[in-house]
Symmetry: C2
Subunit: 242 residues, 2 copies
DNA sequence: CATGTTGGAGAGTGGCACTATCTAAGCATG
DNA sequence: CATGCTTAGATAGTGCCACTCTCCAACATG
């Protein structure tokens, strides 16, 4: 505190070529990583401890240096946690899945999405849950989502869907396949747009990271746009009246 | 603990006529409210304390009874908190807005949505935020969302959108109006579907409650469907390969 | 009248995301 | 080589949140 560092070291700024920074080019130490990312040093240490960030290159017994890839990773972590609102431990699992070389392209994405937060487990004792499960299954059949259909028992997004339908049902809001279909059709179209975006990246690594980042970071975009659109539509229908 | 209540008291079960329970018909006390809702008595007490639930009808100095409207409210609260993942204090504000008689129809909804969680405030010092704000404003202009356009400074959904765009930008994912437009168009269509659903209710009170409940509870539906659709599309494009 | 339940209030719990403090080891300078 | 700075790593502490526990006096019920 009270100790301002002068940011005159512009060491290696502009290493934007794809390959990982090599041999200390553009490498910085903790303090500067903190400064550049806007994340406090204690928090970076915490992320290192929690393995959200890979350790830096060891220089001496007590010092390491970090490269552009650390900066980028740090920004990804912050985005996932702050904007995507995913818990720290979840973020670790998601990032681990992204990098798991033992899995193929599609599987890595699946594992990553599987780790995403999804709300509490549905209460299987509740009849509303059973009904919701039936509705959701029926919906997948109608949509001919064969892949999702196969794994309904273990898929977290499916569980999330069931829990939401059950809650709506308990409150007496009709929520059957007829109501859900338009939402599902929209989701289908969004998925196409998203995957098109993903395919613009060349390497599998970039693609998987992009897929996860886009999945998570477009969620707030989608929700905020829906809320804005609803405000707009509400204003159109009920505005300045009664 | 270790004390099972026998649920033989079916007091007034089946009061499902719209009007609020009157004069103790169908009224129950805390223990049974807990049993019927599946929410523990301490938690109900906590909600009463936090004013998420209105107090019961006072019978004696130390006892109150609760009607169907309490059961319904309790279910709404649980759904908002558990499925909609909104914080307890936020839920209180949202519910207060729903019931605020001083506001009109459209305004109550606006206030309720305004109270919804929205992530951290955008860091105005960050140039990415400034750029994101420009992008978002431009998007609203393109869409001709005049209503939202007027209140960009104070609208929480707008802030949420800006933060998300800024995060995507910082990570180097292109996120301009061209990319956002399809999402916004989808959101527009969803809003129409949602508001149609809302208009099926007759009284303004029901409509406002429905609007809030549907806004919040369809969010997990939307997100889970998108994740499922992405898995489906990913499987279609990359599945069983490499 | 004995036993158990209730509403109300305060304190306690566990989880989470940091945040603060400490230590030994370094490097930089004179 | 002395001095003053930073750093990695570990441990402990903080603040917030959503409950959860405990206690009490005032009933209710057999």
């Amino acid at each position: 505190m009270g100790c301002k560092r002068n940011p005159e070291r512009e060491t290696g700024a502009g290493n934007r070529s794809g390959k990982p920074t090599r041999k200390g080019a553009g490498a910085v130490r903790l303090a500067e990583l903190s400064e550049r990312s806007g994340v406090s040093t204690p928090t970076i240490k915490y992320y290192l401890r929690e393995r959200l960030l890979p350790p830096g290159r060891r220089i001496t017994a007590t010092q390491s240096e970090y490269g552009e890839e650390h900066l980028r990773r740090l920004r990804l972590v912050r985005a996932l946690i702050q904007v995507g609102r995913i818990p720290v431990t979840t973020a670790r699992d998601v990032l681990a899945a992204i990098e798991d070389d033992s899995l193929n392209h599609h599987h890595r994405l699946g594992t990553a999405v599987q780790a995403l937060p999804h709300g509490p487990e549905a209460d299987e004792a509740d009849p509303a849950t059973a009904a919701a499960r039936r509705t959701a299954t029926e919906l997948l059949d109608l949509l001919d989502w064969r892949f999702s259909r196969e794994v309904t028992d273990i898929s977290r997004p499916f569980g999330m869907l069931v829990a939401a339908i059950a809650a709506l049902d308990r409150l007496g809001y009709a929520c059957d396949t007829a109501h859900l279909l338009p939402y599902a059709r929209q989701a289908e179209q969004l998925a196409v747009v998203d995957l098109d975006l993903v395919e613009e990246f060349r390497t599998p690594e970039e693609q998987v990271e992009a897929a996860v980042a886009l999945t998570v970071l477009y969620e707030p975009v989608l929700l905020s746009l829906r809320r804005l659109a609803e405000a707009e539509e509400s204003n159109r229908r009920f505005g300045t009246g009664s």
